[in-house]
Symmetry: C3
Subunit: 155 residues, 3 copies
């Protein structure tokens, strides 16, 4: 029981701001402790590493009672942009970097970044679509090889 | 660190297409590598094994900025069906089976399938409601027994 | 492979009823088997331990095809309250406690409860905002220390 965690492999599968941040924060927290960290982007999580999309990721206001906004209001055009702006300001005030900066920070810290082959094929993407921090496109089986000996965290 | 993963136990708790697929793909990827795989269906994830529902599972268009549709548009009747149809076609083009076929494939590959007793009771279901690949209805404690010695992945 | 699980550390990151319950049920199932259980509340999951909010947590009706309600209907004011009420009654009938009672039960069973420092700072909360079962506010690194030797489950 006293053993330290030496590796975490974190799967990011969602494309909203609140779906992506927890995984980045957990990877960052791992690297800060000298723990090996790997990120595996799959399904809508691919947006977080898509060079043309990662700057435009939004908070999901509808279907999210935690936002404390009326659900119908959340469905109005522009509400998601406003919520995203508000959260962006709060994050800035708390020294939490935006997604593009966070990716650079994680890459510099030695965090591994991989895209899921099945999802990349499904969405018709290719290696060139991704930010340079992404090392490769790998299968689920290869992900298990990388994750062996550590914790898998699906976010 | 060099040890291989020998077992994954994957919990499926959501009832949307994009909530169910990642778990199925990770179970399939495990079996392809000779890794023991167990699926544990809980909460809305029970729809994935419900004989009368698994053919009607839809993409969740609202509250899902990753779909790249206006949120309000996502709330219009029929949009979820259209998104589901589009994703279904993309999956077919990429040789990803539909949920009913995927369940058969996984069952044939030796993947374990279990329903969560607390959720089954909550929704007033019973063993007969499920597809034949489901082996049993088990408690959370029994799930932990099955998962021991492997990775737990909550999707 | 035959080893028993001795510890689970469960991260609760969502603020809806269906986002919080699975983690509580998995923690409770662990304690019932004599397994050490720790809960780590982050992002919108903080609502589950917020003294003024935990009684008002709602089911998320939109963006949730598993609810079997028309998505547009789900967006009408009051639908979330109705769905919450319906689920609350079903839970009562199945002896599943409400969130405030569940927290007391878990605290009494010896389940650890921790709030994520980055999220607490982001939302401008403090220790006094939380129910007494919450022991402390910890960093991600401290969470990894607590979770070492067990399974991490992100819900």
């Amino acid at each position: 029981m006293g053993d330290k965690i030496t590796k975490v492999s974190i799967i990011i599968s969602k494309g909203s701001l609140e779906g992506i941040y927890p995984g980045l924060i957990m990877a960052n927290g791992a690297r800060a402790e000298g723990i090996e960290a790997n990120l595996f982007f799959t399904f809508f999580g691919l947006d977080a590493i898509h060079a043309k999309r990662l700057e435009h990721i939004k908070v999901s206001t509808v279907g999210n009672p935690g936002m404390h906004m009326a659900t119908l209001l959340g469905g109005l055009p522009g509400m998601s942009a406003i919520a995203t702006h508000m959260m962006g300001r709060k994050m800035e005030q708390n020294d939490i970097p935006g997604i593009p900066e966070f990716m650079e920070l994680l890459g510099d810290s030695g965090c591994g970044m991989h895209a899921c082959k099945a999802s990349v094929d499904l969405f018709g993407m290719e290696k060139n679509d991704f930010i340079p921090q992404v090392q490769d496109i790998i299968t689920v089986g290869e992900f298990y090889d990388i994750a062996a000996g550590g914790e898998i965290i699906f976010t």
